[in-house]
Symmetry: C2
Subunit: 343 residues, 2 copies
């Protein structure tokens, strides 16, 4: 690209094929269609919203609802185009060329935005069983004093969660920012939202894209001290969320009970699938998210593709692992059947 | 803010009060409610869309429709959360600390994103009558070789348009990028889209937020060579536009005839209002946009506020000017009446 700046000369634009048919288990989406209650509400929004007017740049109605849900102040919440945008803004507001600490493997956008912000990324490996290597993280914090430490829990793509005691060690080991990315926390046994209220250096990221089935709307949020929320807002684009998206998320956060059954089912399916895969001697890791991280031969992957079953390839340790999100009961049966056929 | 990077220590987060009542003439929005044909289409979208799935990150259906509309290739188009996001991405993809040329006054986000990207901004003043000072721009290009030159035409907030011959001089004076921001081109006598097809260094920005009344959806687009579109995509966040937004814009670009009458009316109202204001000896500037740039005493502004008529204050040349967008016929009558009362 003729006009690209030097540091991006070898970068390739992000592209992902839009898959709309088959069994789609590659994006950690909810497999369930939108709730009819949500659709009824959105039908009214379509009839009454002033789409000719800019959306509320402050997302006040939505932020108030999120604040109420978590019993925090409205100034402790900000909303973005997915949590991606908040992540990006956090980098832009804080980083010139400082160190940041990222676990490996973890959510790929940490590295992407680190690159864009000229951050120096330190990568902390997991233990061999893919549990958090807390000593490594603590040593790295001591050595590099990273401006931001990212803990994704449950971790994408491995599903591992960090223990509360370990997380507290990390938070107390640094005066700098600790991001706790809880994109999948609705599927986990424990949430760490309370730590954002207690520790001034903690920022929680959450999303409506996974458990609450709004991936198509693109809305995430951060919870932290007012000072940290102001920090993110410093570089966040104004008018970032459309009126419609704000309304959809507002309805969902006020009606989370509608989703409890789906979440419980996905957890049950996940645990059942985990056991079935273990029976097949597939290398699969414990997960508290809506996906499982596993290794199988490429021929299995190719057979899944033939059956139009889509899973995510994760290159890690010079091997191709697979991240497979939990589908409907029927989809999980099809998945297991296809894996068995190819073994 | 404790964790803000040094260059942003004195920055204040963007905030704008969400005004929903009164006569709103401060954001260059369309005063007309959404078309019933659009709402019918969107009602079907609500009923059928898979909101639990991520949107198409490539916005292919929408880009194909835009490409067809302008008779360019689909690779010559990219879509953003307003043209703001494309502007931001262009800066991030090209600028380390190079010069950029911005006219003054012009769209405020050029300066904002220049700051965020550490660009060195050169400001080109307008002539005293607020027509483009083309010699100044050409001299600045010669002197500073800016990586990007921004020409907003019709210019926000002044309404001035640049002459085609002058624009060609600028484009031919530099090998670097010339952005032609046509956010308001639907209200102007001439469009310069054709220059994006002819010149490899031209990028056109357009939006659905103004003439097409989709401010609440947040969608803009860029038209340029494939190389320049790839350049913007290098740093543009993936999955940036929600499914619903993509569908709304798709409907509009396929049904622009529905908006012709509104656009013609706004142009007529604009020209009538201009004449009326001149009769009142108000300093007002010719405009080819959906707004007028003017100067009046602060007591007029205060009276408008009392009447819940909202206009935009533009600080320029150590004076407070006002940018007033054209409303419905009734709103324009109210505006003129209120101005007369306060003179």
């Amino acid at each position: 690209m003729r006009y690209a700046k030097e540091s991006l000369k070898n970068q390739i634009p992000y592209h992902s094929k839009n898959i709309t048919e088959g069994i789609i288990l590659n994006a950690n989406e909810s497999p369930f269609p939108p709730k009819k209650e949500l659709l009824n509400y959105l039908s009214d929004v379509v009839k009454t919203a002033s789409f000719n007017r800019y959306p509320d740049t402050d997302c006040l109605k939505l932020r108030e609802a999120i604040a109420k849900f978590y019993q925090v102040g409205v100034d402790n919440v900000c909303c973005g185009v997915g949590s991606d945008q908040l992540l990006d803004s956090l980098f832009r507001s804080t980083i010139s060329n400082e160190y940041v600490l990222i676990c490996n493997p973890s959510f790929s956008m940490y590295s992407e935005y680190a690159k864009l912000s000229n951050a120096k990324a330190i990568y902390a490996p997991f233990n061999e069983d893919l549990t958090y290597n807390v000593d490594y993280i603590l040593d790295s914090i001591k050595k590099y004093d990273p401006k931001i430490t990212f803990i994704c829990t449950p971790n994408n793509p491995t599903g591992a969660t960090i223990k509360r005691a370990d997380l507290l060690k990390i938070i107390n080991a640094t005066d700098n920012i600790v991001v706790i990315d809880e994109a999948y926390a609705e599927f986990a046994d424990e949430s760490f939202i309370d730590l954002a209220k207690e520790y001034a250096n903690v920022i929680i990221f959450r999303t409506f894209s996974k458990a609450y089935g709004l991936a198509g709307m693109r809305v995430g949020y951060a919870i932290s001290s007012k000072d940290n929320i102001d920090l993110i807002n410093l570089t966040k684009a104004p008018y970032n969320l459309s009126t419609f998206t704000q309304e959809a998320a507002w309805f969902v956060i006020n009606n989370t009970d509608l989703y409890e059954n789906d979440i419980a089912n996905l957890k049950k399916y996940r645990d059942e699938l985990y056991l079935e895969l273990q029976k097949l001697n597939i290398e699969v890791y414990p997960s508290e998210a809506n996906f499982l991280f596993m290794y199988f031969d490429e021929k299995v992957y190719n057979h899944l593709l033939e059956k139009l079953i889509y899973v995510r390839v994760i290159k890690f340790n010079n091997k191709a692992y697979y991240r497979v999100n939990i589908g409907t009961a029927e989809e999980n049966v099809e998945l297991l059947k296809a894996i068995k056929e190819a073994l």
